[in-house]
């Protein structure tokens, strides 16, 4: 148990853990000390000086963000003295800040506006200064307008902490500004356009580029949901107005940088209204796809499925909700009576490593071990994992990278071990056993011959000293990595799709023919759900049904195309890579006549006279409640999962990446790489 101290803030008694700062301690009893630069979770920075408070016994006021609680402290946050200082500081800030709140996009959530209101400042009493900085708006994501900047440094610190390092303080004194190296535009600066700075900025210096005139903040309905574009399954907060999505933020309060989302998750949503969106069912007539009714399309499908029976195959992405996955499994098994169903999960992982992965939090671990994985914010392969690890390292965590390739995250590592992952793992285990840590006899025998070098010794020392090590591994190395947890720590195999773990637990996994079998050899009737990395109609396929939200190359070759909803138009649950159950909420109505996957299966099952019930919450909860069982397994690398992660993620999100803004991003990145 951490030590607690007792103090008094504005007459209220506070019991706060030792080491906490006064600002956070105030929050515990609902005393909110004004500030512009503090970011919860990060160390106090002391740039804005607004959080000055008086402490009895001290001569002058101190900044609450960087003063730690002490036993018996008596703090006053609203004395005449500190209020006057705050008013003076705000007065100074207003002298370099435009006073156009009536048209400002940030009105309503602007912290400066809030404080100016509280401290009754209508204008500055100083001479107003206009700096005349140019606006950076040549990218479609983030508009950078230094004229509004109050130099709080929040954007600089989030950018630094997550390892993108694009922004920094430039210049000095009155000429100081926030900028990029050599004052380049964001486009040329190596920016990944994750928009973390957008969430961090307390004023209007870094809004979304298209935010202007898209509604005031208080008109939005805020709907928490989950992004399904990749294996991280990040929390998002969708702002909806007039039935349309206006913007997406991280699923966290403004001013907190706990969570991260990438450019896909934040800005990719405009693909929902792309011209490739399918809004009605289509059927093939004389070599072209023609619009048809749901009734006709479903009855054709019902007849074909009945006829083909167990010669039907279902292939799906693993980026579907638990509910859709269960509905699909039951539809295939009980209605169509086939065991041939599988997901893209089988391309990069076995079932055991997904099912037996444990739950852990990156923020709680003091050592992260990365094995055979290459998360990267720049190539957008598991970008949130990359950002979270870098953040953890910057807050004092350690990172051990074990890899056979050259990867970018090494730059953040405490120690990198290069070479065959399995050899290294064995050696680390051996070294740990030599140090006297407990293991089982099988494990001891398996690593008998391992060679312990100096570097291995260092790595083992890191593991030995750690309290809560968490291992992130590629699924092919899961067994070998999991052996380490017999001694210490938790292990998680990271899949590349948002619900990789969910579909494994639901059981939408290979029973009959596998995904590759069905794709390579074809099926009499092939039913494709969602976007899969498949562009050509498999040969020997008599009838191809594609159920997806957007036109893909495969959909153009289908016999029947059914429009399904996107991630913003459906509800359900997923299990993210850390093992947390997350809930999607429906933010907008489905576009056109598109339906959710499970509604489509239920509708077809009715026509086939074997009606399916929609999976209930209870059923899902029961299925996903599995305790991972980990025991010794031989040190092996599982074969057959060698996909290129970046290409895979891009192909399952092909329609998202065709959206207006992300298409720009792809071009911009390609242009700079040359």
């Amino acid at each position: 148990m951490e030590k607690k101290v007792k103090l008094q803030i504005d007459g209220k008694e506070v019991i706060a853990p030792e080491g906490m700062n006064l600002l956070d301690a105030g929050h515990l009893v609902d005393v909110f000390i004004p500030n512009l630069c503090y970011l919860k979770g990060m160390r106090g920075f002391g740039a804005c000086r607004l959080c000055l408070v008086e402490v009895e016994g001290l001569k002058s006021p101190v900044i609450a963000c960087n003063t730690k609680v002490r036993e018996g402290m008596v703090v006053h946050t609203q004395t005449e003295k500190v209020r006057n200082i705050r008013r003076f500081i705000l007065d100074l800030i207003l002298s370099i800040h435009p006073l156009d709140c009536m048209t400002c996009t940030k009105a309503g959530i602007c912290k400066l506006q809030e404080y100016a209101y509280e401290y009754e400042l209508k204008n500055t009493s100083f001479i107003k200064k206009k700096m005349g900085y140019p606006i950076d708006q040549i990218n479609p994501f983030i508009r950078r307008d230094p004229e509004y900047c109050i130099l709080c440094g929040r954007c600089v610190r989030v950018c630094k902490e997550q390892g993108t390092n694009v922004l920094d303080f430039i210049g000095r004194g009155i000429n100081a500004e926030i900028g990029t190296a050599y004052n380049k535009s964001l486009r040329e600066s190596g920016c990944t356009f994750c928009g973390s700075c957008v969430d961090a900025c307390p004023v209007n210096a870094l809004p979304e580029a298209d935010r202007w005139r898209k509604g005031r903040e208080w008109e939005y309905t805020k709907i928490p949901s989950v992004c399904l574009f990749c294996g991280n399954g990040c929390d998002i907060l969708i702002s909806v107005k007039d039935g349309g999505i206006q913007k997406i933020n991280t699923g966290e309060k403004p001013g907190s940088t706990k969570k991260y989302i990438c450019a896909y998750g934040r800005f990719g949503y405009d693909y929902i209204e792309d011209r490739t969106r399918i809004t009605t069912p289509l059927k093939r007539e004389n070599d072209t796809l023609k619009e048809t009714t749901w009734k006709e399309a479903l009855s054709i499908i019902a007849a074909k499925l009945k006829e083909a029976g167990n010669e039907t195959g279902f292939i799906s992405t693993a980026g579907i909700t638990n509910e859709d996955a269960l509905a699909l499994k039951r539809f295939a098994k009980n209605v169509v009576k086939t065991k041939n169903f599988d997901t893209t999960l089988s391309l990069y992982s076995d079932i055991h490593s997904m099912k037996d992965s444990q739950s852990a939090l990156i923020t709680n671990s003091d050592l992260i071990i990365l094995i055979g994985l290459n998360p990267s914010q720049w190539s957008r392969v598991l970008p949130a994992l990359d950002a979270s690890i870098r953040k953890r390292v910057n807050r004092g965590g350690k990172l051990l990278v074990i890899t056979s390739a050259d990867i970018k995250i090494e730059e953040a590592a405490t120690l990198t071990l290069k070479g065959d992952e399995i050899t290294i793992l064995k050696a680390i285990v051996k070294s740990l056993i030599d140090k006297g840590l407990k293991a089982d006899i099988q494990l001891e025998n398996a690593v008998k011959d391992a060679v312990v070098t100096e570097d291995i010794e260092k790595a083992a020392k890191l593991v030995e000293e750690a309290q809560n090590p968490v291992i992130f591994t590629s699924p092919s190395l899961f067994d070998s990595s999991a052996n380490l947890t017999i001694i210490k720590g938790k292990v998680i195999a990271v899949g590349f799709e948002s619900n990789s773990r969910g579909v494994a637990l639901i059981g939408l996994t290979t029973e009959g023919k596998s995904y590759s079998d069905m794709v390579n050899k074809g099926m009499k009737v092939l039913y494709v759900i969602g976007e899969v990395p498949l562009n050509a109609r498999p040969s020997h396929t008599d009838f191809l049904i594609v159920q997806t939200s957007h036109f893909t190359e495969l959909a153009e070759q289908a016999d029947i195309v059914l429009p399904s909803t996107t991630q913003y138009e459906t509800e359900g649950t997923i299990i993210d890579y850390l093992g947390r159950l997350k809930k999607l909420n429906r933010a907008i109505d489905p576009i056109g006549t598109s339906k959710t996957h499970r509604d489509i299966f239920v509708a077809i099952s009715k026509i086939m006279k074997s009606p399916l019930k929609k999976p209930s919450e209870n059923e899902i909860n029961k299925l996903i409640k599995v305790k991972p069982k980990l025991s010794f397994n031989p040190f092996i690398r599982r074969d057959g999962f060698e996909i290129a992660p970046r290409e895979f993620i891009e192909s399952i999100n092909a329609s998202v990446l065709r959206g207006r803004r992300l298409a720009w991003l792809k071009e911009a990145v390609a242009a700079i790489a040359v």
Binding site: K160, N165, V166, L167, D168, F169, I170, G171, R172, G179, T180, A181, Y182, S189, E411
Partner: protein
Amino acid sequence: MEETLKKILKTYHENSGNIITILQDIEKNFGHIPEEAVNWFAKKLDIPASRFYGVATFYSQFHLKPRGKNIITVCRGTACHVKGSERLINRLCLELDIPEGEETTSDLKFTVEKVNCIGACGIAPVTLINNTVHGRMTIDKLIKEIKKIKSE
């Protein structure tokens, strides 16, 4: 260029230096901080280029643009200001044909810089011409000095 940069990198490793010492070495070798040099070090040391740029713009000892062969520093301290240092600068820029907002002539012969105070207020207005102090400067004296340098 790369050779020089490698040399600087070596001394950095040997003396466990910091960003400022690297930038000082670059400045010493090239007369200013070239963008390529910063990018080269950023890559080699995994220190973001934005950090280098931030430090380089913070200290007035670093210059981002190439500087002229002859450096004329005009003091802009209070005493010199009262004694008309602004007029000196205006005339200098006119005489040397330095466009507004720039400091250096296009042929890289002259750079005109301002400094906040040299600390020789007794002989204001003060001008440094290639590190030689000239007190009680007048426009005529200044033009004469420039002509002298030009004819050398």
